[in-house]
């Protein structure tokens, strides 16, 4: 049980019996990164001096938000008795948007540490990932973190965990990633409890890609878990889904900096570099084999990531459009699930229609575009995929309200998700109210421990992407957590509501909503715009319409006075500068017909920054 192993196992020549592959399942801010840091330190792969907080989370956004977007794998030596083990810790994204990536990370492991904040208890997303882990037959090691916190209630949450996965509350480990308390015991527990990987060293090579990262210096870095056979440098490899072949320029393990090795054998985890520049050629879930003696069957579980949520991204300064295109082209290299195509909006100019895995993915991409590429963006309200069947039996796929067919509609189908909400029991009433108002159907309700409840709903995804999470959080003082997964499609009475300014349709505000909510949406948007759009030199009607039928109307009265009474003692200079400033301001206005709309009004109306926030 020495904290630092005397002699590490050499990659490519490690007996699978001495390998342990595991991941950590945890909710955002339950301390996964801090615990991982402590393990790096205790196993000696990172010197105390080099330790920087949350070593594994490389991107600024990840470090700031305390969430992990891209997983990585770290190989750590750990001695027990006379034996030295190679522990591969595979970092998993914690969020529901990345559930496919999570599932591939889990498939690369034999066990998982279930890490739960001892002051907060388990959250819905963690629960979802726990189900996935159990489905993958992973050995679960339950752990309570942050036991040094004054608010920690380890007895209560140990009981909760034990009731969830079975077993004795006394078996739940108690650690503090911050102080290091209990971490050595945890590493020992990993060696003792998690099974060694199994595979056939003599079979044709099969390695599963569980992550693929773009590095501007080295091109795509592909992370794999070896199942059968082996891989060595200079070998030609093949991706089984695309049949593309590449030469292995480098192969190695992360510890946590990349260390080239002589190869990788059964059960090992490491990285491959082929010089490829586009992550689409190295897809998560795909199977890597060798060209010389290729495997016949790919590993199971590969699917193409499907975007669920769509939104228009527009540069605030129209001149930034080429920069936005370039930035998206670059992001695409590192994010295979991002897709986009150009679109034009009357109100917002030139931009891109982008598909995302979910709302967080959308948020992360826009934040990266703004931060890493210095772009100022407007994002239109998120939309989902609708299938619209017209009277003449044509089916139109709609990811943007502007594509909604104008003629007679026979049926519209929308995606439905199974949503799981975890919250203290006091909030059950208010959550049910919210879910019902969002067309949710209760599937079931279960108590977790004494005072926490899991509510399961089927709900249209379109309702969830429309600020559902904000409402859920604010109605439960932030205590509720949400997870959802696709459960198919359903037909619904959906209509497209358009917003018109002085008779001109403002495409950015069109929305597909349930017929019963069309009026409410129309009233909300017309009132919001009335507040945000400054008075013009003429009256401006604002209307909400379904097709040609007006369902709500407001109007902005004409401005009657726009004149400075006098020039102070002949200070013409001041008056002229004021006028020049006004003219400058006008250049930043977007024209909808004759109506001048400040860019900020569009942004505020889209984000609901006016009264939407107060209403909650």
């Amino acid at each position: 049980m020495s904290p630092k192993a005397l002699r590490a196992q050499e990659p490519s020549a490690t007996d699978p019996a001495f390998i342990r592959n595991f991941c950590i399942i945890a909710h955002i801010d339950h301390g996964k990164s801090t615990l991982a840091d402590r393990m790096l330190q205790m196993t000696g792969v990172v010197s105390d001096r080099d330790m920087r907080a949350q070593y594994l989370d490389r991107m600024d956004i990840e470090r700031e938000r305390g969430i992990t977007i891209k997983s990585q794998a770290v190989r750590m030596p750990w001695s027990q008795g006379a034996d030295t083990f190679a522990l591969n810790m595979i970092d998993t994204p914690g969020h529901v948007d990345f559930s496919y990536e999570v599932s591939r990370s889990l498939a690369a492991c034999e066990g998982a540490i279930l890490l739960v904040d001892a002051a907060q208890g388990i959250e819905a997303q963690t629960l979802a990932n726990l189900y996935l882990a159990l489905e993958n037959d992973l050995e679960i090691i339950p752990v309570l973190n942050k036991i040094d916190l004054p608010a920690a209630d380890p007895d209560k949450y140990a009981a909760e965990l034990a009731s969830l996965i079975g077993g004795d509350p006394a078996d739940v480990l108690r650690v503090s990633g911050k102080t290091g308390m209990g971490v050595e015991d945890l590493l020992d527990r990993v060696v003792e409890r998690i099974p060694a990987p199994k595979g056939d060293a003599n079979a044709p090579t099969r390695a599963m890609i569980f992550d693929s990262v773009y590095d501007s210096y080295r091109g795509v870095v592909t992370y794999v878990r070896m199942i059968d056979g082996s891989l060595s440098p200079r070998e030609r490899i093949q991706m089984m889904s695309t049949r593309s072949t590449h030469e292995l320029l480098e192969i190695g393990v992360s510890s946590p900096e990349p260390i080239p090795s002589k190869g990788l054998g059964v059960g090992e985890v490491g990285y491959l570099i082929t010089g490829v520049k586009d992550v689409r050629l190295s897809k998560v879930g795909d199977t890597v084999t060798t060209l010389k003696s290729p495997a016949t069957d790919a590993l199971p579980g590969y699917t193409d990531p499907k975007p669920m949520v769509f939104s228009g991204l527009y540069p605030i300064d129209g001149g930034d459009y080429p920069d936005l295109r370039e930035a998206l082209d670059k992001l695409k290299l590192s994010d295979a699930s991002l897709n986009y195509e150009p679109e034009t909006s009357v109100a917002l100019g030139f931009g891109f229609r982008c598909g995302f895995l979910g709302l967080l993915h959308l948020e992360i991409i826009t934040e990266r575009l703004e931060r890493e590429f210095g772009l100022d963006l407007i994002t239109t309200a998120p939309s989902v995929i609708y299938e619209v069947r017209t009277e003449d039996k044509k089916t139109v796929t709609v990811t943007n309200p502007s594509e909604f067919p104008t003629g007679k509609i026979q049926a519209v189908s929308e995606p439905v998700v199974r949503a799981a909400i975890l919250a203290p029991k006091d909030y059950v009433g208010t959550i049910m109210e919210l879910c019902q108002s969002r067309r949710g159907t209760l599937l079931g309700m279960e108590y977790l421990g004494e005072d926490r409840v899991e509510l399961r709903y089927s709900m249209p995804l379109g309702e969830i992407v429309f600020d559902f999470f904000d409402h859920l959080k604010s109605r439960t003082q932030g205590y509720a957590s949400l997870d959802y997964e696709p459960m198919g499609e359903q037909e619904a009475d959906l209509v497209k509501v358009d917003i018109l300014l002085q008779g001109e349709q403002v495409d950015a505000f069109s929305a597909i909503v349930h017929r019963e909510k069309a009026y409410a949406y129309g009233v909300l948007m017309t009132e919001r715009l009335k507040k945000l759009i400054p008075r013009q030199q003429f009256e401006v009607p604002i209307q909400a319409a379904i097709g040609a039928r007006i369902i709500a109307r407001e109007s902005i009265r004409a401005m009657r006075k726009d004149v400075l009474a006098k020039c102070y003692g002949g200070d013409i200079t001041r008056k002229r500068k004021l006028l020049e400033k006004q003219k400058e301001g006008k250049k930043r206005m977007k024209m909808v017909g004759k109506v001048e709309v400040p860019q900020e009004a569009f942004i505020a109306a889209l984000s609901g920054d006016t009264e939407g926030k107060e209403k909650k």
Binding site: M559, K561, A565, G569, R574, K583, K586
Partner: protein
């Protein structure tokens, strides 16, 4: 004079003007503005350059007329040295502050300096602003003898609660009295009104209009109250003690005033000014809108000569220091290029009833006139005759009209 001076180029210590200022100067009328930067109390809405103390940083109010006369002499010297054609003044205007806070003899002395240095053109117009409570019949008679032809009384309102919000101290009953005295001694009379004060109703305003008309002045100015940043009124509005002026109500008030004034025989000749006839217009006021030359005397005063605008140091002590050194009091200036001059010509010219010559506009501006007629801002009949003249709604939207005429 506004709260802050504009940013411009530095002005030279001798005040000499660039060569461009002299071009064509013989054809332009020349006027003089004399600023008196003192008030008994500062009104809450006012951000003009004025001071309430008798003595500022060792500079006495009693010394001010002498300093102003020094700048008058400097003006003649600078114009001469800059090659600007010598011209007698057509208009003189004393503004403030409260010019009549100084003894009548001081004003007479300052005016004498103007006459001595520049001379008066035939029929020269000489005006002073006056507070109803700071003049009497003798004072006005002294002004008339000294050569003043006009007095402009700051009546502001006839309604006590409105005057109280404005922090004006005069008794409204006194206005008819001072107007009558001024007429008796042979001065033309203007009364100045302010509308849109917080708490002022349309009925209050109507009462002020009626009482102003009842004094039968030759000329009326009516200015909407503008809340200037940095004033006490602005702070009161920000803290919620006083309601913000309502622009729609101000528009209604303008409409009512214009209607009443026209009915009573006063025609508008500039957005905020009405007179009984051509001869009772304020020619000095018009000179600002028509690109004339004028020299502004005193702290913070603005001047314009041949496309050069400059402004003096703001504080009376700084001003006194400059005058004592025999240096130009100018703090900064700007020389307008032809594009800016054209923009200013339109910006200022649309405000007057004589209007702009449509043929003088650039083609884009001439096209914009059609839209302005359609929106009811420009008088169609005048436009067909080649003049751009604003309608009543157009006058209220004059700044928007300028933007549309110059939006290219």
């Amino acid at each position: 004079m506004a709260g802050a001076l504009p940013l411009g180029d530095p002005a030279p210590a001798d005040g000499l003007l660039p060569v461009s200022a002299a071009a064509g100067s013989g054809d332009r009328p020349f006027g003089m503005y004399l600023h008196v930067p003192f008030c008994r109390v500062r009104c809450g809405y006012c951000d003009f350059n004025t001071y309430t103390s008798d003595e500022l940083r060792g500079v006495k109010r009693t010394d001010y007329a002498g300093q102003a006369a020094d700048e008058v002499r400097l003006s003649a010297h600078v114009l001469r040295e800059s090659g600007v054609a010598p011209r007698p003044v057509s208009t003189v205007f004393f503004g403030g502050g409260t010019p009549t806070l100084l003894p009548a003899a001081d004003l007479a002395m300052m005016l004498a300096a103007v006459r001595d240095e520049h001379g008066f053109a035939p029929g020269a117009e000489v005006t002073t602003e006056a507070n109803p409570d700071s003049v009497d019949r003798d004072y006005l008679a002294t002004l008339k003898e000294a050569g003043f032809t006009r007095v402009s009384f700051g009546m502001q309102s006839a309604v006590p609660h409105v005057l109280a919000t404005l922090e004006r101290t005069h008794d409204p009953e006194r206005v008819p009295l001072v107007v009558a005295w001024a007429r008796e001694v042979g001065l033309q009379v203007s009364v100045d009104l302010i509308y849109g004060t917080p708490g002022e109703t349309l009925a209050d305003w109507e009462r002020s209009i009626d009482q102003a008309l009842a004094t039968r002045p030759d000329h009326i100015s009516a200015y909407s109250l503008i809340v200037e940043p940095g004033t006490k009124l602005a702070r009161q509005i920000r803290s919620g003690q006083v309601a913000e002026p309502d622009e729609d109500l101000q528009a209604d008030m303008y409409d009512l005033a214009d209607e009443r004034f026209q009915d009573a025989g006063y025609g508008w000749y500039e957005v905020s000014n009405w007179s009984t006839g051509h001869d009772t217009r304020s020619r000095h006021n018009l000179s600002y809108w028509t690109g004339a030359d004028w020299w502004g005397i005193g702290p913070g005063a603005h001047s314009h000569v041949g496309g050069v605008r400059w402004w003096n140091v703001k504080h009376p002590a700084a001003y006194a220091g400059r005058m004592a050194e025999g240096a130009s009091p100018a703090a900064g200036r700007e020389t307008l290029d032809s594009d800016v001059q054209e923009m200013e010509r339109i910006m200022l010219g649309v405000r007057i009833a004589d209007g702009l010559d449509i043929r003088s506009l650039a083609p884009e501006g001439r096209v914009a006139v059609a839209g302005l007629i359609a929106d009811g801002f420009v008088d169609a009949a005048a436009a067909l005759r080649g003049h751009l003249v604003l309608t009543r709604p157009g006058r209220l939207m004059a700044d928007a009209v300028v933007r549309r005429l110059t939006d290219y």
